[in-house]
Assembly symmetry: none
Homo-oligomer: 195 residues x 4
Amino acid sequence: MAESRPLRADARRNRAKVLAAANEVFAAEGLAVPLDEIARRAGVGAGTVYRHFPTKEALFEAVVSDRIESLTAVGREALASLPEAGDAAATEQAFFRFLDVMVTDAGSKMDLADALTGAGVDLQQSTLAVAADLRAVLTDLLRRAQAADTVRTDIDLADLHALVIGAVAAERSRAGHSGLARQVIYDGLRTAPRP
Amino acid sequence: MAESRPLRADARRNRAKVLAAANEVFAAEGLAVPLDEIARRAGVGAGTVYRHFPTKEALFEAVVSDRIESLTAVGREALASLPEAGDAAATEQAFFRFLDVMVTDAGSKMDLADALTGAGVDLQQSTLAVAADLRAVLTDLLRRAQAADTVRTDIDLADLHALVIGAVAAERSRAGHSGLARQVIYDGLRTAPRP
Amino acid sequence: MAESRPLRADARRNRAKVLAAANEVFAAEGLAVPLDEIARRAGVGAGTVYRHFPTKEALFEAVVSDRIESLTAVGREALASLPEAGDAAATEQAFFRFLDVMVTDAGSKMDLADALTGAGVDLQQSTLAVAADLRAVLTDLLRRAQAADTVRTDIDLADLHALVIGAVAAERSRAGHSGLARQVIYDGLRTAPRP
Amino acid sequence: MAESRPLRADARRNRAKVLAAANEVFAAEGLAVPLDEIARRAGVGAGTVYRHFPTKEALFEAVVSDRIESLTAVGREALASLPEAGDAAATEQAFFRFLDVMVTDAGSKMDLADALTGAGVDLQQSTLAVAADLRAVLTDLLRRAQAADTVRTDIDLADLHALVIGAVAAERSRAGHSGLARQVIYDGLRTAPRP
DNA sequence: TATGAATGAGTGTTCATTCAT
DNA sequence: CATGAATGAACACTCATTCAT
């Protein structure tokens, strides 16, 4: 699963350029963009893209995996910042801040939205592994928030996941978004009534 | 807007077969499906599809318009069933039942989801008009529900629309869906705390 | 070669309508026009066109044949109007007037031009027969003009035919045509120098 | 206008093969020939044709432009070979020899004929520029010939252009051509009577 | 017999992937 | 190894011709 050999410096540079270009372009246009466009933006030949990623979908997944990994890292930090025994307010804040990060990130990246909503994408093993890490973190945060009596206890990870996707879709659907849709979803998640 | 002449029997039959096939296939795969596939499933030649619908997008819109019109009709019935002066419980029930219909319908039809989220589709005048009707009905129902103090008053039609899309996306994202995501969104919409 | 049976009145009427429409449309756009367009303009179904003409090309030829027959008739009149023993001036006039008719007619009808220049058209037996009649008349007129010492004697029918086509092409090629190209060709045909 | 970088050897080879095939096929059949046929004759895939020429029409124009450029070069040489102060006989010869080249070339190439007569072709800027060069050269030659009292002075470039097209059409129309049609047109152009 | 709907092969064009240079 | 040219299978759409009504 790991690359067998460390890449040569120029190869590593090219891989990075391709990923950067793919990041931009996939975020802006989703899976639909032609691969040649990515190669052009990366300043490399199409063949070079294929040297590093066996298919276009693999490149797409690499981009998405990177994003998921970033999100996971943010989630880990949120978890780490929580006091061992739950301070309810801090837990609540950490939980919803992390949701905000996820929703905002996915909301601004066509690729993530595509991947999450499964629009014509079949995620592979490696991506699924990365996604599992994210889910693990999210599960922990959810449990903590529920333990702190901040989030309703009848929902599980799958529900939360679905709701994040829902929030992303809601945000995407609005030209000038007020953010209220997201707020409604958060409110629905809370144990307590809105003040 | 109405066809000038009644179609011949065979033409009507084939048009119906095409629409039925398009319904199925678009629902299952969205706009991305090749037109030949639709023709094949309908048991007609590709040319026949084009006799009835000038472009692939026109066919897509016909399917989507039909769905939207059905939804609008359901919405109108819901409105009609409401007592003039608002019975809060009845109003609430009518409102959320209609949301259920929308979410369930769109949730099982890729095409509606695509159309609603505007995924690579440019809707034409006629479809937009149909969509406007649906929005009008939805606006009325929302107003009634808000007047009956059932739904929070800080959200408007656009927010609600976004949330429906969010609920659809949430449902779609779950293989075995428990329906809780939808419930969370509904709860977020209510004025009152959950019991 | 003649139709086996006299057509019923309505059939004859339809045939005429189709021919009239084809005349117009082929003249304006050449062979490229879709057959449905002709049927529409004739106010009949596509099937009706095929009842009277086995292929699109046959219809095209019918139109062209008609035109050629008209030209032939004009040519015959020109021949008939000539005095037995050649009056040089009258012969010259008759000859060039007939050329004028041919060039003007073909010049304003894309179909004739197409047919004459052989643009993607393979003329069939029946049309060729009609064309042979025209050639016969033209040959007579040419001989008479040559006998009257009005037209150079080194050219034959084939040359003359080619020059008519050339004049047509020349006329067609000019947006605002002055007619001088035609004049140059006529002058080249004459025995005598221009005054 | 010039390609920014020299093409790779294989690309140059294929581009040449495509142009050569297009030359042949367009010359034989005009614009109507399917692009796949050209690709097949060139021994390349259809995509390769599109790598070098963005549309079928662009390829057509490239072929036609090449032909026109060759003609223009020949015309320039003819002009250059003329003595400053007009030697009437030399001027006449140069003029008519150039006409011969044009007529012969266009006469054997359907594409040029199509392009010249504007049969369903919309020429683009670049081709029009090339054509303008040819017209400039032709104008110069015509002026010189008229100044040398060799060609009648009542005709202008447009007339001459039309007559060239006429001569081409005349030649095309004859299976075994005697060349006399061309001669007649030339004679019509001269000031002096034929000897 | 007329109608116009159905057919289906064919067209230009795109793009993921492979391969010669 | 990188390059970018070549490939070829799709795809949307058109239209001459056939055939059910």
